[in-house]
């Protein structure tokens, strides 16, 4: 069975489902057998989800919040070309 450290090294690929079948199985087995790592994976996934939630509207704030002077300055560059 993998050690926790070995499993940790595979974490990104494991969650991306980007491992060969045998390694994927070994990781799956480790998570099934190791409470600490199972908890870690759960919280790690929750962390990723929280990060995505924090920017789930990445284009906010909406148009009105771009200061007019910024828009005008950007357009001035074009006009002087």
């Amino acid at each position: 069975m993998l050690t926790c450290k070995e499993f940790d090294d595979f974490m990104v690929d494991y969650l991306d489902q980007d491992l060969p079948v045998w390694q994927k199985f070994m990781c799956w087995l480790h998570v099934k057998m190791c409470r600490e790592c199972a908890d870690f994976v759960r919280d790690y996934q929750r962390t990723i989800a929280l990060g995505q939630m924090a920017y789930d509207d990445p284009d906010e704030p909406v148009p009105s919040s771009v200061p007019e002077e910024l828009i005008n300055a950007a357009l001035a560059h074009q006009k002087t070309k």
């Binding site: 450290k5 940790d8 357009l75």
Partner: protein, 225 residues
């Protein structure tokens, strides 16, 4: 650095017809692009007004400074205006502009110079000599406090903790988990190997996990008082 999706590195590749090359552009994008290439001032204004919020939000996210974000806004549109002719239409205009924005942000972050980054070792998982996990916070991320926090406040807390990460970790987290670039794309953008990108991403996520757990612990403590 190769983060300019949709821009041909070789203008000789621009021989296909627009129809064959433009599966990503909707009618509105195509009209806007044609108009930009015709050099009509009104279209440049439409471009800035339409994609300005996206550019500014992305710049603020990467640069953490309103002043830097404003400068980056200018630089991004300057780069976009200069590249309109070379835009290959292999993505939407929005995706292309987002790529240009991220590129401009990374150039600014690099230009800040190589300051010594804060160590994050204390935020990473610890293993004993047998490779067993020996320390992990008991998560409070899904505690009653976290679950009862107003969504807007929770967003603010998470953004705050992300902003505490050193730039090299924060940037790969933003690229991969927030802006949706693949690990391979993130590695290419940053000019590092896939393995280095995976290691850095894992460390960034693990450090953020610890930071969030500490913050939730702190909020729990105050909620219990």
């Amino acid at each position: 650095m190769t983060l300019t999706p949709g821009i041909a590195s070789d203008t000789k590749t621009r021989t296909l017809t627009d129809a064959a090359r433009a599966p990503y552009l909707d009618k509105h994008d195509k009209e806007l692009l044609d108009c930009l290439r015709a050099g009509e001032d009104a279209c440049y204004e439409e471009l800035v007004r339409r994609f300005g919020p996206q550019v500014l939000a992305t710049a603020k996210r990467y640069l953490r400074s309103d002043a830097d974000a404003a400068d980056c806004f200018q630089d991004t549109f300057l780069a976009v205006f200069e590249s309109v002719e070379k835009f290959e239409q292999r993505s939407t205009i929005g995706t292309w502009i987002r790529g240009v924005t991220v590129n401009q942000c990374l150039m600014r972050i690099r230009a800040r110079g190589r300051r010594r980054e804060e160590c994050i070792e204390h935020l990473l998982p610890v293993f004993d000599e047998n490779g067993a996990r020996v320390h992990s916070f008991t998560s409070n991320q899904s505690s009653p406090v976290a679950d009862s926090i107003d969504a807007a406040l929770l967003k603010e807390i998470v953004r705050g903790e992300i902003n505490k990460l050193p730039d090299s970790y924060r940037v790969i987290l933003l690229l991969r988990d927030i802006d949706g670039y693949s690990t391979k794309e993130s590695a290419t953008i940053l000019g590092i190997s896939m393995n280095a990108a995976k290691t850095r991403l894992h460390r960034a996520r693990s450090a953020l996990k610890s930071l969030l757990e500490s913050e939730m612990e702190r909020l729990n403590y105050h909620a219990d008082m």
